[in-house]
């Protein structure tokens, strides 16, 4: 079974530039998550999708971050404009809807450096 795919793996940009990350979840997984992991910290949820609807985006800085999940499969996370403090690893995860427990499978992440 293929895992969660993410691209690019690494990205370096200057502050005030824009950047986009892509995630392809495990086939059949209805729930998709984007986490931000700053160096030395645990992952923090940015946004959670159930199919193509947003379930939780309370921690998403909506003035600069946006995310979409068209057709309930792939997802894109965008930052515009980027700030220095956005340097982090962006992790995408997915889980199967309806499970009695919420095991989340993580992708390899995208490491963003903002200069």
């Amino acid at each position: 079974e293929a895992g969660v795919a993410q691209s690019p793996r690494y990205k370096i940009i200057e502050k005030r530039q824009s950047v986009a990350f892509w995630c392809n979840p495990i086939s059949g997984h209805a729930t998709l998550y984007w986490y931000q992991q700053i160096l030395g910290q645990g992952p923090k949820l940015l946004i959670q999708f159930q199919n193509n609807g947003v379930v939780d985006d309370s921690q998403l800085p909506k003035d600069r971050f946006s995310a979409e999940r068209l057709k309930g499969v792939d997802s894109t996370l965008k930052i515009q404009p980027a700030k220095l403090e956005d340097s982090a690893v962006y992790l995408c995860a997915s889980s199967l809807m309806g499970q009695t427990y919420n095991e989340q499978f993580f992708g390899p992440g995208t490491r963003l450096t903002v200069l």
């Binding site: 645990g42 992952p43 949820l45 992790l91 427990y101 919420n102 390899p108």
Partner: protein, 112 residues
């Protein structure tokens, strides 16, 4: 504020030694997850605990959740260099579709 507190922050052990990592919450945990992360990579699921007093083992790793469901421990027996990495505990509160809250992680180094 940090939802979950992990201790120690880092751990350096000699190969073959046993070790324990702790994860503590001030709130009741409705699901406690242990993940392992290697630098530059995603999180690998290790174990999930739901019931108070529950204990699970996989190879040389054992995880426990206390009766009050506010503390979990991860124990590695006879550590190997392959165990090195960052161990993260995560927990959910509420619905099965809820977010996971994570601790800061414990950096484990195993030297031969």
């Amino acid at each position: 504020s940090q939802e979950l507190e992990q201790s120690p922050q880092s751990l350096i052990v000699q190969e073959g030694k046993n070790l324990t990592i702790n994860c503590t919450s001030s709130k009741t945990l409705y699901g406690l997850y242990w993940y392992k992360q290697k630098y530059g990579e995603g999180l690998i699921f290790l174990m999930m605990l739901q019931k108070g007093g529950e204990e699970k083992s996989h190879e040389k790793i054992t995880a426990k959740l206390d009766e009050k469901k506010q503390q979990s421990s991860l124990h590695i027996t006879a550590s190997q260099p392959s165990h090195a990495g960052i161990y993260l505990c995560g927990a959910r509160r509420g619905s099965t579709l809820g977010r996971l809250y994570f601790g800061r992680g414990t950096q484990l180094t195993v030297w031969p």
